[in-house]
C-alpha cells in the first residue's frame, strides 16, 4: 500500500459517506452541506489525477456557485424554520434495489474488462497543456462547435431562470 493508495482510499470513503448523507439526511440544509463536502472530495480526486485546473474549476463553479444556489433555494422554499418528517417517499426500497443492482452490474463488467489494469503513462508536455486545451476549444477543426453551443445554452439558461423565477409585478 503506497501512500498514494492510502490517500485515495481515505478520500474515497469520506466522499462516499458524504454522498450517502446527502440522500439520507432529513434536514435539507444539512444535505446541501454534505453535498459541499462531496464536491470537495471530487476536487481532491481531480488533483490526484493530475488535472489541477479541473480541481480549481470544480471549486469555483460547483462549490462557489451551484452549492450556494442550492442553499438559497432550500432557504426560500420552506414554510417553517425546521424540517420534520422523513425525507424518503414510500417506495424507497425499490430505488435502493435498483441502485444496488446497477452497482453490482457495473463492478462486474469493470473487473472483467481487460483495460482496467492500464498502466499509468507519464504526462508529456506538462507546461503547455493549458494553452493546448484553450486552443482546442476555439479552433475550427477541434471543439469550437460544442463550446459555442454551450455558451448559447448558458445564455438561454440565464434568461430562462430570470424569467421563470422573477417577480411578476402587475
Amino acid at each position: 500500500m503506497t501512500a498514494e493508495q492510502i490517500i485515495f482510499l481515505i478520500v474515497a470513503v469520506v466522499t462516499l459517506v458524504a454522498a450517502l448523507s446527502v440522500v439520507i439526511s432529513r434536514n435539507l440544509i444539512h444535505s446541501a452541506l454534505w453535498l459541499i463536502l462531496t464536491l470537495f472530495g471530487v476536487a481532491i480526486f481531480y488533483v490526484l489525477l493530475e488535472a489541477g485546473f479541473f480541481a480549481v474549476i470544480q471549486v469555483i463553479v460547483y462549490i462557489g456557485a451551484i452549492a450556494i444556489l442550492f442553499i438559497f433555494a432550500a432557504m426560500l422554499t420552506r414554510r417553517v424554520m425546521q424540517d420534520t418528517g422523513p425525507q424518503s417517499n414510500t417506495n424507497w426500497w425499490i430505488g435502493a434495489l435498483i441502485a444496488l443492482f446497477l452497482l453490482a452490474g457495473i463492478v462486474f463488467i469493470l473487473l472483467s474488462w481487460r483495460g482496467s489494469t492500464t498502466p499509468l503513462a507519464e504526462l508529456e508536455n506538462q507546461s503547455g497543456r493549458l494553452s493546448q486545451l484553450g486552443l482546442s476549444l476555439v479552433s475550427p477543426d477541434q471543439y469550437v462547435l460544442p463550446f459555442e453551443l454551450a455558451s448559447v445554452l448558458l445564455v438561454a439558461g440565464m434568461i430562462g431562470a430570470i424569467f421563470v423565477a422573477g417577480d411578476k409585478k402587475q
Binding site: 440522500v23 435539507l28 471530487v42 444556489l69 442550492f70 435502493a96
Partner: protein
C-alpha cells in the same frame, strides 16, 4: 500506482448513490442534488479515462468542461422552476405536483 478500476468503481458508486437520491427523495431540491451527484461521477469517469488511456489527447478534457457548463445551466433553470412552483402551490414535495396526471 492506483489502478484505473479503482477510479471507475468509485465513480460507479457515486452514480448509484445519486440514482437512489433521484428515485427515493420526496423534496424536489433533494432530487436535484441527486442529479448533481450523477453529473459529478460522470466527470470523474471522463477525467480518469483521459488520464489513463489517452493522456496526450484533449478530447476528455474538452468533454469534461462542456459537462461543467451544462450542469451549471441545468441547476440554475431547475431551481428557478422549483421556486416558481413554490410560489403557486406552497409546496416542493414532488408527489404533490400531479396536475398533469390522468
Amino acid at each position: 500506482m492506483i489502478p484505473l478500476s479503482w477510479y471507475l468503481i468509485f465513480a460507479a458508486a457515486l452514480f448509484c448513490i445519486g440514482l437512489y437520491g433521484v428515485l427515493a427523495r420526496k423534496n424536489a431540491i433533494g432530487i436535484l442534488m441527486g442529479i448533481e451527484l450523477m453529473l459529478n461521477s460522470v466527470n470523474v469517469n471522463l477525467i480518469a479515462f483521459w488520464r489513463y488511456r489517452a493522456p496526450n489527447g484533449i478530447a476528455g478534457q474538452a468533454f469534461a468542461i462542456i459537462v461543467f457548463a451544462v450542469a451549471a445551466a441545468e441547476v440554475a433553470v431547475g431551481l428557478a422552476l422549483i421556486i416558481s412552483i413554490y410560489r403557486r402551490r406552497s409546496s416542493v414535495v414532488a408527489d404533490e405536483m400531479n396536475l398533469m396526471k390522468w
